[in-house]
Structure formats: C-alpha cells, structure tokens
Symmetry: C2
Subunit: 327 residues, 2 copies
C-alpha cells in the first residue's frame, strides 16, 4: 500500500549558498520543503560533504511526509557541467565536489531510489516550459542572470543536454574578443556584460568616466565603491543615469539573445535569476532593441521575451519534474 | 509496377550560381544528375524563375531515368532562411525569390509529388552525418566556409530547424562587438573573421600593416590588391607569413566553434565549404587552439573536428536523404 506517495516526487536545488528540497504532487504543487546551507569547503572531498547535505535535506522532506526517501523519484539540480553519466565535471561554485558522481553518492546514502541529477538551469527551463512563463512553447531558452549567466535550452519540446551533457553554458559565448577577462579563462564572455557582476563592472566603468555622479557622491566620491545594487536601486527609483546604464546592460542582454537566436531560433526566451527586481526594466529595454539585432529581423516572427514566472523555486520544481519523467 | 523507382529519390542543391540535381539509390549512390545556371535576377518575381529552373533540372534527371518526376520523393536545398512552411523568408543570394513558397511552386510545375525544401547547410549536415565525415555522431555541427559561414546542426540525431525554421545561422553570431560591419547589419559577426571573404579582409589588413611583403610585391606593391586566394595559395606553398595569417583565421574559426560548443556541446564539428583546399591547414591549426578556448577545456572530452567528406555533392545528397525521410 503506497497510495500516499503516488504521484509525489522530490526536487532539490543545490546553490552556492543553500540547498532547497521540495516535494510536489502531480500538479506541481509544493506540499513540503526543507533547506540547509551548502557546504563551503573548497578542498576536494569527492562530493562527500555535498552528498551528506543533500541526503539530509531529502530525508527531512521525506520525514515531513511520513515516508522513506526510497519511495520517491528524486531529482537534483546542480550548478555546473554534468556529464550524461551524472558526474560533476566542472563546478566552479562547488569546488569540493568536482569530479563526483552525486547520483551514485546519494543512492548509497538513501537506499534504492530513482535519483536523477541535472544542471540547475536545465531544471529551471523545464519548470518554466511545463508550468511557468514558457508554457505552449516548444523552443525555449532560459537565461538566468546571477553572478554570471546560466542557460537552459528546450528544442522541439526536448531538454538539450548535448553530446556530453554540457549544453547550455551560454554565458561563456564570447561577444567581445578584447573584452574583460572572465574566470573561465576567456575574454569578453557574454556574462561579463549582462549579469549581476556585469552591472557592477559597467557601473564602476561609468563612474570612472564621470557618469553616475549621484551614486559616486553617495559612495563617498569613490567611483570604485559604486556597487551594482546601488545602480539597480537607483534605476528602480527612476534615476536617469542609472536607467541609461540599465539600458546598456539590456542592449548586451539582447545582443547575446540575438546570438543565440541565430543558432537556435527559439520562439520564447525566459529571463530569470537574481536580477529579478530589475527584470521588467531590462526586458522592456531589450524588447526595443532585439528586433534590430536579429538577422533578418523584419522578415522573421518576433521572439517572445518574458520574465520567469516561478521565482526561486523553479530549480527545485524542475528537478522534481525531471525525476518524474525519468521514473 | 513501379519497381524501377523503388528506393530512388532526388535531391537538388540551389546555389547562387548553379543548380545541381542528383538521383540517388537507397545506399546514397548517385545514378543520374543534371545542372543548370541559377537565375540571376534581383527583381522580385515570386520565385517564378527559380521554380522554373529547378523544375527543369528535376525533369531532366527524371527523363534520364525514364520516369516522370511525380514518381520520386524530391528534396530541394536552398541558401537562405526557410520557414517551417517552406517559405524563403530571407535569402540575400536569391533576392528575386524572397518570400516565395518553393515547395508549392514546384508542386504546381511537377504534378503531385513529395517535395521538401530545406536550408542548404541543413542538407549538407544530414549527408555528412548519415554518409560522410560525422557518421556515428548524434550531436554534430556542420560549418561551411564560403563567402560567409553557413551552418547545419544535428542534435540527438535530429536536424535542428528551430521554432520558425531559422536555426543554424551560425555565421551571424557576433564575436567582436567593435568589429567590421557585416551585410546583415551587425558588426563583428563570426563570418567576418573565418570565411573566404574574411581571409581577403585579414590579408589586406596584414598587408597594410607591413606583413605579407612577398604577396604585396606580387600585387604590384598595392596592399589593397592582395586577395584571399593569393594568401591561401602561398600558404599551401609553405610561405611562413601566409601560414601565420591562416593561423589567425584558424584561431577565429576555433573561437566560433568554442562559442557554439558552450551552447550546444557537439561531439563532432564538420568543416566544409569553398575553402576546402586549405581545410587541412585550418583544421590542424584550429585543433591546436580549440581545447584552450573551451570552457572547462581540460575537464571535458575533446570535440572531434573533421573535414567534410562528401564535397560539393553533399547538399544535393542531403536534400535527397531529407526527401526520403519525409516520403
């Protein structure tokens, strides 16, 4: 008699600072959740600390439901490049787990369960396409603006994993060969121009060039002390110089989307991530310039550009949906 | 009794200068072919001249086979952006046919037949993946270097068309925001750096900067008169300055491939098109630098970079394969 768990599944979103687990019913409604801090070690431990933390948060949700974790399909979204076998090949924000096979480590801790691991932006795009902002679209790119830019891609209704599992690393398209260095080793990656850290960098450049006078004054006259958050807050209050800087960021955002559109021809692009407060500003501005940046702009149907609808739970929700599909 | 035609199909490759039709048997072997010049008009005629020419070359091949064209599945590859309905939405090299539905025009001329139209680079990648250089790979990007850069993409074994049919326009990814203007309207498109016309442009830049002294002398001392063909010929003869310029082109080629790899994660990239004489040079050089340009380069499996195997017939052959699949 397992009728209590029928249709339930569990999704986990592993971030750089916290790990969120939610249990969902068949309609995607959340019925239990738990959260723990992410392990912050940088010394490689084969993923042990991370697996322990993820197992703990899963156990906690299962306990809330009064069942064992082995009775649920479980999906885990991770920030990094995952091989098709589930190995975390490259994860700058989870260094201690680099090279670990999280699915196997979790199976060892939780007993015999269906555990699927996936890239976190892949989870988010699955959630937004099935239950959120991109419903009804088969060709969707999710662009998540955080410290960098993450990406999840659905083509013909199918999540794109790529030949080795590494598709969707859209933030590292180089758009300006002589641009600022990126932690990935290249110069001029898209995420240097349109992300949380990009707003800060562009703001400091603008401040050094004599713009953003009000914000520089508020920062004690030190151009280098102007932060991205100051600019987004000022933009939301209608400060014209801050709005002009957000227009620059939106232009770069649209430029990268146009690059992706050349390659993939999506019908819908969803904008999510940590810059969500200014997403409406960025979207309004990017919508203005995008048609002029698209090859054959006047001869092609417009691309629908929309804000993410599911907020910070999208990753965990999508992980649960991927687990349900795999179960 | 139609046993004579069983398994036969016909592929047409429409280029800017000529139209080639071939009939193939089930194994992809060519059993008849015909070629006519492409109509050169630029005044919009709704695709009439092009449809007449394509119908003529198809009729000719069918006559060689002693059958009517209505007995064969027919695929037609076209250079331009085709909607999923088969309308040539944007075709800078076939201006007179812009907006035409070639499949319908051909059906009217040839009677009731299976006619599929597709982008020419899409046809080429299908041929190379099924019968050529990318056999055994499910995630393939075909990069064709001509006047510009064309692209065909197969993901998970399926040809990528995109939400509107316009996927694979990879030459118009912007890689250098301050770069030279592109006929598409943007600046710094990839094809400004790695294509036939890019070799000429980079050669003239190098000549003006005092490099390529031998070629400048051969051009009567006029740096502006150095042509791309002069550089590729000199490189093939071992001229060190010309080889250095080809290394530059190869670096840009690899940079664009790395951009595509971030997004799509292919297992194989096929290089084809009009620069085929120097393709071995470009590939050798691009293979050296590609691993350093890939995000997580050391932590991911290498991408197989190979020259196209099917030469100038790939487009027509691929069109026939697409027709066979659709029939």
């Amino acid at each position: 008699m397992r009728t209590a768990t029928s249709g339930l599944c569990l999704g986990v979103d592993v971030g750089g600072t916290k790990i969120l687990a939610i249990a969902c019913d068949q309609s995607g409604s959340e019925i239990a959740s738990s959260q723990v801090p992410s392990p912050q070690g940088v010394i490689p431990d084969g993923g042990m600390a991370l697996a322990d933390a993820v197992a703990r948060v899963i156990d906690d949700v299962a306990t809330q439901l009064g069942i064992g974790p082995a009775m649920l399909p479980i999906g885990v979204g991770l920030p990094g490049m995952l091989t098709l076998d589930g190995v975390l090949a490259f994860a700058p924000n989870l260094r201690s787990s680099s090279g670990a096979n999280l699915a196997r480590l979790l199976a060892e801790r939780l007993g015999s369960v269906t555990i699927v691991v996936a890239n976190d932006a892949d989870c988010a795009v699955v959630a937004e396409q099935r239950l959120g902002a991109a419903r009804g679209h088969d060709d969707v790119i999710m662009v998540t603006l955080g410290t960098g830019i993450g990406g999840g891609i659905i083509l013909g209704g199918q999540l794109l994993r790529g030949g080795h599992g590494f598709a969707g690393e859209i933030g590292h398209m180089v758009v300006d060969i002589d641009g600022p260095p990126c932690p990935c080793g290249a110069r001029g990656c898209w995420e240097r121009y349109a992300s949380g850290s990009a707003v800060g960098r562009l703001a400091r450049e603008a401040a050094h060039a004599g713009r953003l006078a009000g914000l520089v004054a508020a920062a004690g006259g030190d151009a280098e002390a102007v932060r991205g958050e100051d600019v987004t807050a000022a933009a939301l209050e209608g400060d014209s110089e801050a709005l002009a800087l957000m227009d620059e960021v939106a232009w770069w955002l649209a430029r990268g989307i146009a690059n992706l559109a050349c390659v993939l021809d999506p019908s819908c692009v969803v904008l999510g991530g940590g810059l969500s407060e200014v997403t409406p500003l960025l979207i309004d501005s990017a919508r203005q310039v995008l048609p002029n940046l698209l090859e054959g702009g006047a001869d092609r149907p417009p691309i629908v550009l929309v804000p993410a609808a599911l907020g910070s739970r999208a990753g965990a929700l999508g992980a649960s949906l991927i687990a349900r599909s795999a179960a």
